[in-house]
């Protein structure tokens, strides 16, 4: 019996060390070799989830790089920002998408839910710190184990394929001609979320937005929150009061560039949240024009935006 336990323990130690080695060695290599360099001319960057990913066509907007990823919460944006900002001194201005769904408690699932965690953690595990890791561990330790194994496998592939340019893993601008708005309008009718007194906010996501802003400011970047166009029938817009309150309460020193009232025909949307390429091109032209006309230096950015919206909006 004692011999059995002794041999099993030795075997388990060897097995665990092997597993740890195949997880740790690629992480170490990636940490040393990874690159976060973007185009030297990109002085403007936008971070966020699928809304900006579909809205900002960076081939239209001058000196602009779309670094958004579909399904990305601020938790993962923060990991991205921590690496991109110090590696790209040419960046002067950082736009961070701040839309209504980013304050909703459902976004917590985008931080530690299996689907998003298994997608983003493999890319950012190498760069994550202890405190951030604890957040995932405390909220979903069961799925975290699975995600660590997915991350280990992806890291092995990354190392074998010599693929250390992490920027390649970022979606950026997503162009699509799809339009399924009618279907989505039907679906929106069945939304049962309570936007009333008991509406739940994602404290964690807001907390990471604060961290992103603090980090960027510490690196002397101009930071703007930005809200790209959303369809007026998007259910989550019903949380507008909470959205405005949070903006005032937590981010009063950061300017919000609000394009929510930008009107486009239904054919310019993929669905209620996202613009398709028609919408993105129209919006990007307007945004480019605003940047050229010194929107960011203006003391009254709101009226400039409203003027531009009035010019570029399309009713039918």
């Amino acid at each position: 019996m004692k011999a059995f336990i002794k041999k099993i323990l030795v075997f388990l130690i060897i097995a665990i060390l092997t597993v740890v080695a195949i997880a740790i060695i690629p992480i170490t290599i990636i940490k040393n070799q990874s690159k976060f360099k973007i185009d030297e001319n990109s002085t403007y960057v936008v971070f966020g989830h699928s809304h900006p990913s579909y809205a900002y066509n960076d081939s239209i907007i001058k000196n602009f790089k779309n670094l958004a990823d579909a399904g990305e919460s601020y938790f993962y944006t923060y990991q991205k920002v921590k690496n991109i900002i110090p590696n790209n001194p040419q960046i002067q201005t950082v736009f961070i998408e701040f839309t209504n769904n980013q304050i909703d408690s459902k976004i917590n699932e985008w931080i530690w839910g299996f689907e998003k965690m298994s997608y983003f953690l493999p890319t950012y595990l190498t760069f994550i710190n202890k405190e951030d890791f604890s957040l995932l561990y405390d909220n979903n330790r069961e799925d975290l184990t699975s995600c660590l194994s997915i991350a280990a496998k992806k890291n092995i592939y990354r190392t074998i394929n010599n693929d250390f340019n992490i920027i390649n893993s970022i979606d950026g601008y997503k162009s699509t001609k799809i339009n399924k708005l009618d279907e989505m309008l039907e679906e929106a009718k069945s939304d049962t979320t309570n936007y009333g007194i008991n509406y739940k906010i994602s404290e964690s996501n807001i907390n990471y937005l604060k961290k992103i802003i603090t980090f960027c400011k510490a690196h002397n970047k101009d930071v703007f929150l930005i809200r790209s166009p959303q369809h007026k029938d998007l259910p989550v817009l019903k949380n507008e009061n909470y959205y405005q309150d949070i903006k005032k309460k937590h981010f009063k020193n950061v300017t919000l560039l609000d394009f929510n009232s930008f009107k486009l025909p239904n054919t310019f949307y993929v669905d209620l949240d996202h613009l398709n390429s028609l919408g993105a091109n129209r919006f990007s032209k307007m945004f480019n024009n605003l940047l050229i006309n010194d929107l960011l230096k203006s003391k009254d950015s709101k009226s400039k935006i409203n003027e531009a919206i009035a010019t570029y909006s399309l009713s039918k």
């Binding site: 099993i8 060897i14 184990t145």
Partner: protein
């Protein structure tokens, strides 16, 4: 508690150490620890349903004792029926109540009548189909005087609730398992090592094969309208390996765990996908259930004796009941029916026992005839599994009609192609290992025994690494729902 969970990884060593270091000197203590551990294992899921197991244990223990004292045949039959009614009553209520009610409502509606009864929100107690059949076998064997009833309540409780096989089998016969609780178990090094090896192979089958195949099977079955025939065929093949990896993996872990505690459970899967006809498949798939139905249903009904009509009737009964055992849905009944249709020609032509041995025994490669027969049997099985997996009959029919359309010859498209290819490679790996080990009890029982020891240990570490690298989202075992 799931075998593939952290909870079980902590639970098992604790029980193992207590079992061999604290209670090893006293049989009663050993058995009591097993009962206690089994109740913790089961109660981890939902402690309320422990009462069902305890009740079932008390009923069958008491009926066993009463049967041993009773000589009057009529009274003995009444006692037997008491056990059957109690056990199947629980099973019927928890598993089939809503099914019968829904079908009754539908039947009334067809005749223009409205039945104002609403279905109940019933939680199906995990493992009820398994332990019900296990305790029933005890009472039936005692009634038939094949088994002396036990007077040791703790041993009987341990037999009913034995945690390795409590929730998803193998369904052990009292004649095999119960006597093992009467003798003190002694630690055997080779048995324990063999147990661990079988657990490792079971975990590989469950975590690497079943859970990764499940991802694609779910994708194809849930969105079957979006895919062509080739994709759906691939989806059905993924499900074929999902259910095999899931269920045979569970059995391997159960048998291996039992061996760690000094028990021998019967083989539940004997490489069923290498069967050369459906009759052989049913001798190799879920053996403990097939033999249960054979001994307690098919043979009492007359078996294959009697005329052709009798054979046909009994075959249909056993396959339909077997299908219905799996779940209260018409899809399972059709699955059983389809297997009966596959099986019947072999029975009627007296060819159901043509393939008793192992294909290409003692050889590396199978003859062409065997390869052809194995392929045809596998394909028939894949088609039957579509009914098993589908949500309803029309889902299955639509799924199959898309498979057998022109799009069968198109290139399949699906998300995460890389993981799909990896999963297919791992399935091939499984098939190769199982083919090489098909003359043993489980795939890697003797695998690499001729290699240097370090190389063999390296192979086991490779399996552990594969398990680590391919852990998906923790999935319940499919058979928990049965």
């Amino acid at each position: 508690m799931l075998f593939n969970s952290i909870d079980f990884a902590v639970f098992l060593p604790i029980v193992f150490i207590l079992y061999w270091f604290v209670t090893q000197k006293n049989l009663k203590y050993q058995n009591f620890l097993i009962v206690l551990a089994s109740y913790v294992f089961y109660g981890w899921w939902d402690w309320r349903f422990l009462s069902l197991i305890v009740f079932s244990t008390i009923v069958d223990y008491s009926i066993g004792i009463l049967l041993s004292k009773e000589e009057n045949n009529r009274k003995r039959i009444i006692l037997l029926w008491c056990s059957i009614i109690v056990n199947l009553g629980f099973l019927g209520f928890f598993k089939y109540y809503n099914f019968f009610l829904d079908n009754l409502i539908t039947a009334f509606t067809l005749f223009g009548q409205e039945l104002n009864v609403s279905s109940l929100k019933i939680i199906l107690p995990v493992g009820i189909s398994f332990y019900t059949f296990q305790t029933l076998s005890y009472t039936i064997d005692v009634y038939k005087k094949k088994l002396t009833p036990t007077k040791d309540f703790i041993a009987f409780s341990a037999f009913v609730s034995f945690f390795p096989q409590l929730v998803a089998g193998p369904i052990e016969r009292a004649t095999n398992l119960l006597p093992q609780f009467y003798t003190k178990r002694k630690f055997e090094y080779s048995k324990a090592v063999d147990g661990l090896r079988q657990i490792l192979w079971g975990l590989f089958k469950k975590i690497v094969i079943a859970d990764n195949s499940a991802r694609f099977a779910n994708e194809f079955f849930n969105n079957y309208n979006d895919y062509g025939g080739s994709g759906l065929l691939l989806g059905a093949i993924f499900f074929t390996f999902q259910i095999y990896g899931d269920f045979s993996g569970y059995s391997d872990i159960a048998i291996g765990t039992s061996r760690l505690f000094g028990f021998n459970l019967k083989q539940n899967f004997a490489f069923p996908y290498f069967s050369r006809d459906i009759a052989e498949f049913w001798r190799r798939w879920h053996i403990s259930l097939s033999t249960w139905f054979r001994d307690y249903l098919y043979i009492p009904l007359g078996g294959s004796r009697g005329g052709t009509s009798m054979k046909v009737r009994n075959t249909f009964i056993i396959f339909i009941v077997s299908g219905f055992w799996h779940g209260s849905n018409w899809t399972f009944i059709v699955w059983g029916l389809l297997n009966a249709i596959y099986f019947l020609p072999l029975l009627l032509m007296n060819r159901n026992r043509n393939n008793i041995g192992i294909s290409a025994e003692g050889k590396l490669f199978a003859p062409l005839k065997d390869i052809l027969n194995i392929s045809v049997t596998f394909l028939l099985t894949v088609i039957a599994w579509v009914f098993f997996r589908a949500d309803n009959i029309s889902h299955a029919i639509n799924y199959l009609s898309t498979i057998f359309s022109k799009s069968l010859f198109s290139i399949p498209e699906f998300s995460n192609r890389q993981l799909a290819i990896e999963t297919l490679v791992l399935i091939v790996f499984l098939v190769v290992i199982e083919w090489l080990g098909r003359e043993t009890q489980y795939g890697i029982e003797k695998f690499g025994f001729k290699w240097p020891r370090s190389l063999r240990l390296g192979f086991y570490i490779l399996l552990i690494c594969l398990i680590f690298l391919f852990i998906g989202k923790e999935q319940e075992f499919i058979y928990f729902q049965f």
